[in-house]
Amino acid sequence: MTLFIFRRVLQGALVIFMMSLVVFVGIYQIGNPIDILINPEAPPRVRQEVIERLGLDQPLPTQYLRFVLGALQGDLGDSYVYNVPAFSLIAKALPATLELAFAGLLLAIVLGVPLGMWAGYRPEHWSSKAIMGVSILGFSLPTFWVGLMMIVIFSVELRWLPSGGRGETASLFGIHFSFLTWNGLTHLLLPALNLALFKLGLVIRLVRASMQEVLKQDFIRFARAKGLPQRVVVGVHAFRNILLPLTTILGLEFGSLVAFAVVTETIFAWPGMGTLIIKSISVLDRPVIVAYLMMTAFLFVIINLLVDIAYSLLDPRVRLGEEQG
């Protein structure tokens, strides 16, 4: 198990290294930071000074080395716009995004798993066909448009829920969360639902397909031959087997929820990494863009690692296989 984790960590480090190369070379092409940083009327001497200070006159490999050395110490450069370390900007926005993505994932699971299980259990029933229709609709609805419609319906017309922002937050382990206060929760609900919708169709389809696959297995028949009620056969025997593929996919999809939060955050004015990156891209704030991408890559690697660990904990074949050598 330790060896397995060690291997995974090594792979993750490789991915982050590759990402840093891609990001650095890619972002290097964006605009000219000097134009943003300095008044165009500034004397050439000042201009030259800034270029030297930022190391922009150095060849690309040298700049990359500087960047990597800085990154290893948690220094990804200062934001051109806010003039504070880019890393701390991203780190401050991270909890809001993670909270939103978690809430979205949770809603997608809570809604999608029962629906998918039912659709897989009774595939010919009219309600299952309706559920499959909903799942296709889930794929097809543009997240941003649904978000707008939600605001129109629930905030403008019905005035039930706020249309944006994080609301009141409360502190837990020194980090601020919205779900801890009622007001924050009402602010969280719409964006989380909006984000959940994006994954709902996927969850329904995945669970349905796994369910159909599992129900065909001999061990389900054997469970029924023991006289177990259907709710145990489906709820325990089938469900426990669905958990494996579900964990894998959901873990990986969590990453895409973080990425897609860009859209939801923009619509609901949720102060997370997404809002920050959109702003930074529009003003070409290079260090913040780089910090965001590196943070996302790092997050993905961590998620992948956690998924692997969760998988091996859930699947006795993997877990014990490792133990026995």
Binding site: I136, L206, I281
Partner: protein, 298 residues
């Protein structure tokens, strides 16, 4: 090599078409898609104005409700926006751009991705490993992130959006084409063909490519739908097409500012058009998958 037994082969295309229409919901999808395509093609004929010709716009007509008659004397079926632009016309023209970008990006990604996938399956060994590692690496990042980075680097423009979408999507095709081709390339007769020194191109075009086509078709339908959605999303975020090429996403985005003041028509109707377009493609893709690739679920 013996010739394929063509005589015994049933008319596959016709049988396939017959199978396809057995699902009423897929037929609905196809009808909607074809209708939208025709609308887009005939945009200048079926819309009362060219919404992006500033000469035809009249500020007097701005913010008309659906059904009101404007200064030019015709009815604005779906109302107008704040510049006096007819929403129906904006939708029809936006449809044109969305469809063009989606089909263009999906098509190019399909060609590139399929080529890479088949090449990897054909060559095997180190080439395959490296290519597929690259595919895996890219697929571990969501398409929207990849497209967002590309556009941040490239800046706005139709060609750049298409390029970004291709970069974001080719890997899906590569993975699918490779696994489909791999099934075939493991067959004995391919190995036989190899050892006979049969032309590489003959193996690729005669065996590997045809075998990958069904699976690629399935994801092509779905990826075109995704490309359209992605483009709309990027345009909404202000990262996509330039203002001179307003796709449905941008039309929706323009209306967004007025939604809080109750002028819902500027956002809802273009949104419905976008949903219909993407939904119809997904319905078609779903049916194709049922028929061509029944094992896959997603």
């Amino acid at each position: 090599m013996t010739a394929a037994p063509d005589i015994t082969r049933p008319p596959r295309l016709r049988r396939f078409a017959a199978d396809f229409v057995r699902s009423p919901i897929a037929v609905v999808g196809l009808v909607i898609f074809v209708t939208l395509c025709i609308m887009a093609a005939l945009a200048p004929l079926i819309s009362p104005q060219n919404p992006y010709d500033m000469m035809t716009l009249n500020l007097m007509d701005s913010r008309l409700r659906p059904g009101e008659v404007g200064s030019a004397g015709y009815v604005h079926l779906l109302g107008t926006d704040d510049q006096g632009r007819d929403i129906w016309s904006a939708i029809v023209y936006g449809l044109r751009i969305s469809l063009g970008v989606g089909l263009g990006a999906g098509g190019i990604a399909a060609v590139i991705g399929t080529s890479v996938g088949i090449f990897a399956a054909f060559r095997g060994g180190m080439v395959e490993t490296v290519l597929m590692r690259l595919v895996d690496f890219q697929l571990s990042f969501p398409a929207i992130l990849v497209a967002l980075i590309m556009l941040a680097v490239l800046g706005p423009g139709v060609d750049k959006v298409i390029f970004a979408l291709v970069i974001a999507q080719w890997a899906y095709f590569a993975r699918t084409a490779r696994s489909a081709a791999l099934v075939e390339s493991r067959r004995d007769y391919i190995a036989g063909a190899h050892s006979l020194g049969l032309g590489q191109w003959r193996i690729i075009f005669g065996h590997l490519l045809p075998n990958s086509v069904p699976a690629v078709m399935v994801i092509a339908a779905i990826q075109v739908a995704n490309a359209i959605l992605l483009e709309a999303t990027l345009s909404f975020l202000g990262m996509g097409l330039p203002v001179t090429e307003p796709s449905l996403g941008m039309v929706i985005s323009n209306g967004f500012q007025h939604i809080l003041s109750g002028r819902y028509w500027m956002t809802i109707y273009p949104g419905i058009a976008l949903v219909l377009l993407v939904l119809s493609l997904n319905l078609i893709g779903d049916r194709l998958r049922e028929l061509l690739d029944p094992r896959k679920v997603l």
